[in-house]
């Protein structure tokens, strides 16, 4: 690339960045061409050069600027022609030629800017369509991923259900046999005048472990086979007031203070009361696990346009970013004895009700889970 090429490209690029700079530059160029025209006289025709600033302004700064520069070029040409030694038989010929030149510039600028606009429109359309196509590709990828995830979960769910069912039979026999062994041991040890306490303690431990397996199985099955909600129109205040009073003794035992703020004017919701309470209870259990040394638990309801909100706030330890990211992922748990299905099940219930659930948390301060439920009669 030669030095001149580089200079031209640099100048064009600089002008191209600013409409004002391009216009001012074009006017300057017109004046320079005018001076050149004046100095070269009639023998050297340089009129075609006036197209350069006109086209530059029209392309970069738009139609109005192009027409203005075209006008300036016609005026500059007129003066350089008039005072450059022209000897027309009629003095009006210079003016006529300047007007013709102006008409020519107008036609050129008009055509050029029309072409430029269509070029820009085409570019914008291509950009828009490319962006839409990319968004569609992303959306398809996301949906395919979600579908794959759902299929995997369905397989895992049905496998878990099958395994859980199969385990229940031997577990049932173990349960009953444990009771029988306990009874037999009691008789045997009593007759031997030795204390049956240790044997009974061991049996209690085995029994508690079997209970734990049973609980895990039940949670797996509940998640894998969630029944369709049987909905009724009801007041959240009445439902939560009644149910929360039942759990109050458990909260007292764990030194957790319960604060209720249930909006009495909140319109009713259309929900399966049993399932909704299970969802709220899971959030309460989660809150209790986050406050092993006690604290405060607030359950509030309020309206947010067409939704009813149920907020469960604790003053526990809060959660890390990773915990929040995986909060509703099935089988993800940070508890040694957790199944990782509690919150996934809660989310499943709320989704079945056409709602959503989200969480705000701060390390060391606590967390707030908010359930959004559509009102029975939308606003």
């Amino acid at each position: 690339m030669s030095g001149i090429d580089l200079l031209v490209k640099t100048v064009v690029a600089r002008f191209a960045r600013s409409r004002t700079a391009a216009t001012v530059g074009a006017v300057g160029l017109a004046v320079v061409i005018g001076v050149l025209d004046y100095l070269t006289g009639r023998e050297w025709a340089v009129s075609a050069f006036y197209l350069l600033p006109t086209c530059l302004a029209g392309w970069v700064a738009g139609r109005a600027a192009g027409l203005a520069v075209g006008f300036v070029c016609a005026v500059v040409w007129f003066f350089s022609d008039r005072f450059g030694g022209s000897t027309y038989p009629n003095p009006l010929i210079s003016t006529w030629n300047a007007i013709m030149l102006l008409v020519f510039f107008v036609v050129v600028v008009w055509s050029l800017t029309a072409f430029h606009d269509s070029h820009v429109n085409l570019e914008q359309t291509v950009e828009r369509r490319t962006a839409a196509l990319q968004a569609e590709i992303e959306e398809r990828k996301r949906l395919e991923h979600a579908k794959l995830q759902a299929e995997r979960l369905a397989v895992v769910g049905s496998m878990a259900a099958q395994v859980a069912h199969e385990i229940r039979n031997p577990l049932g026999a173990i349960f009953l046999n444990l009771d029988l062994v306990g009874k037999e041991l009691g008789v045997l040890v009593n007759s031997d005048t030795r204390s049956p306490d240790e044997c009974q303690a061991l049996l209690r431990e085995i029994r508690s472990q079997v209970w734990r397996i049973r609980q895990v199985l039940q949670e797996y099955l509940r998640f894998a086979r969630m029944p369709k909600p049987e909905r009724a129109v009801l007041s959240l205040k009445e439902l939560l007031e009644e149910k929360l009073n039942f759990v109050r003794p458990m909260l007292d035992q764990k030194r957790v203070e319960l604060k209720m703020a249930l909006d009495p004017d909140l319109p009713p919701v259309h929900v399966d009361s049993g399932q909704l309470w299970e969802a709220v209870l899971n959030l309460i259990r989660n809150a209790l696990d986050a406050m092993p040394d006690g604290g405060s638990l607030a359950v509030t309801t309020r309206r947010n346009s067409a939704d009813a909100l149920v907020c469960v706030t604790d003053t526990g330890r809060g959660m890390s970013e990773e915990e929040v990211r995986n909060l509703f992922v099935p089988f993800f748990t940070t508890k040694s004895d957790g199944t990782g299905l509690g919150l996934a099940y809660t989310q499943q219930i709320i989704s079945e009700h056409g709602g959503r659930i989200d969480c705000d948390t701060a390390r060391g301060k606590g967390s707030t889970f908010t359930i959004h439920l559509p009102l029975a009669v939308p606003a």
Binding site: R168, N169, L171, G172, F175, L176, D179, L180, R214
Partner: protein, 132 residues
């Protein structure tokens, strides 16, 4: 002497371990237990005029014949005979359906002996007491 003494109970379950355990628990409470692992044999027992049962406990999912069939047969032949369903394949729908078809109670395995005895005792109480 407890309330279950000398009550005649037919237990049907294709899982031998479960069958044996239920047999022992109920026998320990004084019941006369007839334990069968084949549902067809259970129908024969129910159809035998020489035998009179106070209660039937049946598994639901069994080869050849389901517990629902055993319950249907028992309800048709002996309408007053209470039937308890005990299954490892329980769902809320299956439970609702079983109760609708006339089961006295629906138990999901595993159950402990106290729970089993409590439900059996309620099933054998005089009919003035409501069903579960």
């Amino acid at each position: 002497m407890n309330e279950l003494h000398d009550k005649s109970v037919l237990v049907v379950d294709d899982d031998e371990g479960m069958l044996l355990a239920m047999n022992k628990v109920l026998a320990g409470e004084g019941c006369r237990v007839t334990a069968v692992s084949d549902p067809v044999a259970a129908l024969n027992e129910l159809a035998d005029p020489q035998k009179r049962f106070d209660l039937v406990i049946t598994d639901l999912r069994m080869p050849t014949f389901s517990g629902r069939g055993v319950m249907g047969f028992a309800s048709a032949a002996l309408p007053e005979l209470p039937v308890i369903i005990i299954t490892a394949f329980g769902t809320p729908d299956v439970e609702a359906q079983s109760l609708r078809l006339g089961a006295f109670a629906f138990l999901e395995k595993p159950v402990d002996s106290a729970q089993l005895i409590e439900v059996v005792t309620r099933a054998l109480m005089p009919p003035t007491v409501g069903k579960t």
